[in-house]
Symmetry: none
Subunit: 414 residues, 2 copies
Amino acid sequence: MGEKTKIMIIICDGMGDRPIAELGNRTPLEAAETPRMDMLALRGETCIVDIIAPGVRPGSDTAHLALCGYDPYEYYTGRGPFEALGVGMDVRPGDVALRLNFSTVEERDGALVVLDRRAGRITEGTDELAAAVDDMEIEGARLYVKESTAHRAALVIRGVGLGHEVRDVDPHEVGVPIWKAEGVGEANEKTAKIINEFVKRSYEIFKEHPVNATRVEDGERPANVLLPRGVGLAPHIPPFGERYGLKGAAAVEVGLIRGIAKYLELDVIELPPSVTGGLDSDFDALFAAALSVFDGYDFLLINAKGPDVAGHDDDPVAKVEAIERIDVALEPVVEKVATGVHLALLADHSTPCVVGDHSGDPVPCLFYGPGVRTDDTATFGERTCAYGGAGRIRGQDALPILLQLSERAEKLGA
Amino acid sequence: MGEKTKIMIIICDGMGDRPIAELGNRTPLEAAETPRMDMLALRGETCIVDIIAPGVRPGSDTAHLALCGYDPYEYYTGRGPFEALGVGMDVRPGDVALRLNFSTVEERDGALVVLDRRAGRITEGTDELAAAVDDMEIEGARLYVKESTAHRAALVIRGVGLGHEVRDVDPHEVGVPIWKAEGVGEANEKTAKIINEFVKRSYEIFKEHPVNATRVEDGERPANVLLPRGVGLAPHIPPFGERYGLKGAAAVEVGLIRGIAKYLELDVIELPPSVTGGLDSDFDALFAAALSVFDGYDFLLINAKGPDVAGHDDDPVAKVEAIERIDVALEPVVEKVATGVHLALLADHSTPCVVGDHSGDPVPCLFYGPGVRTDDTATFGERTCAYGGAGRIRGQDALPILLQLSERAEKLGA
């Protein structure tokens, strides 16, 4: 066996797309000038990747689990826990977690009727409101609340004997009363009771809250309740370092993926404020921060969010620009990996502009590094990689392939 | 349905490799002159194969299980049974088997402390020592011991009510006392008791043994104990003939694969002494022996070991030569399969010279015979086959593909 090499995975978030008429029936990646990615593809081996399985639309959370080698069907247990991780909450295996909306309700005949599920798309004051209901005790369990972007927040319930098969409280429409959380069996009943009491207390506390007094004065809808949905049990996940024997770190731009990295016990690299997670993000600073610590690690995961944002915005030109800016910023990475690093560069999913959301289209991928069986693909794109030497693989295959290239895989048998 | 055809799988052991600078960035197979394999690829359909799964490094045992259509994750139950099979022992479903090291221990305060786990890398006299402890009875079970290469041996325990979840006795380091085998529950306790008694008896018998008297006189460490590890239960595997309705035989060069063939109840074809399993092996004689019995069988598995040996030795030139010698020896096989046999020719794993061991790189594969959908691949190599018409498959897929081509597959449904 030779020397163990380092492993790097670079994820251009949502970069995969479909042919777009205004780009001459090219995808944004095909239309973009990407000399560095093309060089890596030329000197590497390419393929297309079904991140979860053919036709399955990955979330950012399930995609990153798969690319870290974890079966999302085994480890993804609902959005709540991953949303809570995404806003930086402390989530522990066994916690029950939910997504929350700041909403506007009105009392009618003793029921709370939903007027606006997003409380007039509130953007300010949610931190104060969240603080007012954070760290309560109900039925012997501790409840933690933290605001997310806009009208969103997350709830973590920590206690013993909690179930997670509970109906949503958020009725997902307006003009109707909120639902009661309900569950079957002692553990689910307990969680349901806690959730219902939490919703009641949030209403009592919020209706008198100064943030809402101000909102009403300004002619805006009060955020006078928190409506939970997406309940999930925080899963017991074997930490990345234990599972693979790799010291790993992550340089990622957005909260949800940072949360997943933390949950896998990857070290989360501090990024400067210029790395925004938006289209204006400073990719040079992102890669510089990642490379500055790489000497101390065996494994590095980098996520550049820009292409996904443009895909959600249905902005092909912005997507081309984001991809080109990433390519320019890759220069020091290209120099680094040329020293003998094993690299995979790919997307975590397609976010086709025409869809405006994640799709199930496979993503292009390149493997680069010592011993890779170079193929005939000379430019990096969805359709050039479809003819690549590594064929069509799954997201969960990427890390094992890198591990065996880097002399870190165990043999099964003799 | 047409007439049933015969099936042949030819395994060029460890033939897959990576591009090698001294071969002009070609793999040994790409660099080798292989007109017969190229012709079969030209007239056949090609692909690359992940013998177990992408990135997973196969052992010879798990690889051959997979290529015979058995899921290695289901049927591979630890190294002990396969090691015992490999040295030619009679292993039966339900036996508990372990790997053994001839080791050197010293009595200190009533404990046996390990001085050398390999007894001075003993190479001679292990047959006599093994014979001295072979065929004992302990706790109503029969114990069989056989020497392997160098300091290695294997132990088979045959009896009723035996568990296999037992801690190793070999502490895997020197200067410490040997461990006690321990297990939880009646069956595991029984096996542990048998193992501990076996270790004690081996020490009593070996410390007075003439082989060791001679070793001590010569200033060498005595092989005065056998230390077990790698306990496994010999699995209940459905015999190949029953599973597929095929009368099958195997012409294979090395003990471990011969053992697997026997375990699957394939007839093991007697080979002349010139078929050595080494780089000097007589491949003409190997294929001649296989073809001479083929009329009596539906299925024939042939393994030519040479390329794997050269890969382990990091000798690209020897690997090219071994592949070329196999290609020349294939002449009568080419004539035979042209009569209407369905053939798969592939490797059981890659053994890249630079790695010097099995790797997780996929292997090239060709299917040949009536009705095969010929593709554009005209030469047989890792990267030409990556562009083959059959794409990227798994080792376990090969036999079902051959079965359906040969009109032997059952339909699922109506």
